[in-house]
């Protein structure tokens, strides 16, 4: 166990744990846009910036991104230091300039008292904040269907050659975890389309409800050795099956009890 002080509160944390986690557990509001427990810390949005020091540092202070700074014994953390708050505000202002049309960023900006960006807003923005969650999650799940391309302000998320990504299995994890909800997809009948690639949704063989894509189910059964048949029925019909089976067992046990 490691002992540290966050905004005046003395806390304990597990060795190797990242500062941001401990901060959030304390209920302190430190914004973070690129952090997700499913993937390694990335340090792209820089909003989780905090000021740290130690008794032994002689008043010297350091500014670090808490999402990837492991807790240390004796650390004194200030999440609301003037410089930190100013930096956060500027960073949000910059993001708002990049994504002027994003309701999520507008809200975050409003929380920091910014109604309009003080910088040059991007024209025709796709409202992607380049947190990289989509690509990182996709890669971590084992598909790596999409990636970042280009540099600097031109950096963007794309499929290889901007064509329907061959490795995409249509799980939607990218779109669902996008903090600004900018990855479009559509569902119509048993068709799902994302990244311009069309997928067949599995139709429950009992009730006709749509579940995951056929490609995803195949990938899962191959990667994790799960019988493909499991995926033919939706969860509600699986429960109904379970009830039926259990009822049967119960029926037998009633007869058994009557006999005894």
């Amino acid at each position: 166990m490691v002992h540290l002080t966050i905004d005046g509160t003395r806390v304990q944390a597990k060795e190797g744990e990242m500062l941001l986690k401990v901060i959030k557990q304390l209920g302190i509001d430190v914004p973070s846009l690129c952090d997700h427990d499913a993937v390694e810390p990335f340090g792209a949005c820089r909003l989780c910036l905090v000021e740290i020091t130690k008794q032994s540092w002689d008043g010297w202070k350091k500014y670090v991104t808490s999402c990837l700074y492991p807790v240390e014994d004796g650390l004194i953390v200030n999440t609301q230091a003037e410089k930190v708050v100013e930096a956060r505000k500027t960073l949000i202002d910059l993001q708002l300039a990049r994504c002027p049309g994003s309701p999520e960023i507008q809200q975050l900006a409003a929380d920091y008292g910014i109604t309009q960006t003080s910088y040059e807003p991007k024209i025709d923005s796709d409202n992607c904040i380049l947190c990289g969650l989509c690509t990182r999650i996709c890669e971590h799940m084992g598909f790596a269907a999409i990636s970042t391309v280009d540099r600097g302000p031109d950096r963007r998320i794309a499929s290889p050659l901007d064509e329907p990504p061959p490795d995409c299995i249509g799980c939607l994890a990218c779109a669902i975890n996008c903090p600004t909800n900018v990855i479009p997809y559509t569902e119509k009948g048993n068709k799902r389309t994302i990244w311009d690639k069309e997928f067949e949704l599995i139709t429950c063989s009992k009730c006709g409800r749509k579940t995951i894509t056929r490609d995803f189910a195949r990938a899962l059964s191959k990667m994790r050795d799960i019988p493909e048949a499991y995926f033919e029925v939706c969860d509600a019909c699986h429960r109904a099956e379970t009830a039926t089976n259990m009822g049967r067992i119960a029926g037998w046990s009633r007869r058994e009890e009557a006999a005894s």
Binding site: M141, C171, A217, L220, D235, T242, E257
Partner: protein
């Protein structure tokens, strides 16, 4: 794990108290949440079965999770979803052969039975003892036919 669910379907009267209890125990922001247990109508008339996760030995939910968000709570024996890790891909919902990983559409979360940390509310509140949570190997509840 020393305790487990014992389900006696012929005691179940379909009152759905278990669902209510689960819902309240898993409330979100003070409002009742998604139930993880379902009183499902059985194959025969007037016959109900409380269906919830039985915390399989080698669970399909955990196997199917590509980000390893589902793991066993060693204290309670429950397979739990780490909500911070879950990427909501629905793999476990599709994979569980008992239909016990559930998509909470209202809060857009994937949920499942977590044994309420060791004291499942459903069993506590079941009026007929169709559902009990008791030490493995202890006597079956008395059947009230």
């Amino acid at each position: 794990m020393t305790n487990r669910f014992v389900v006696t379907p012929n005691l179940c009267i379909g009152c759905r108290t278990c669902e209510l209890a689960c819902s309240f125990r898993h409330s979100v922001n003070g409002k009742p949440g998604q139930t993880r247990i379902f009183a499902v109508a059985g194959p025969m008339k007037e016959m109900w079965v409380p269906v919830t996760c039985l915390q399989c030995e080698d669970p399909a939910c955990a196997k199917s999770c590509l980000v390893d968000a589902i793991s066993r709570n060693e204290e309670t024996g429950a397979m739990e979803i780490d909500q911070e890790k879950c990427v909501k891909c629905m793999a476990c919902v599709a994979a569980c052969p008992f239909g016990c990983s559930i998509h909470d559409q209202q809060h857009h979360m994937i949920v499942k039975c977590d044994l309420c940390g060791g004291e499942p509310a459903c069993a506590q509140f079941c009026p007929t003892k169709a559902l009990v949570y008791q030490p493995v190997g202890s006597a079956k509840p008395k059947v009230v036919a």
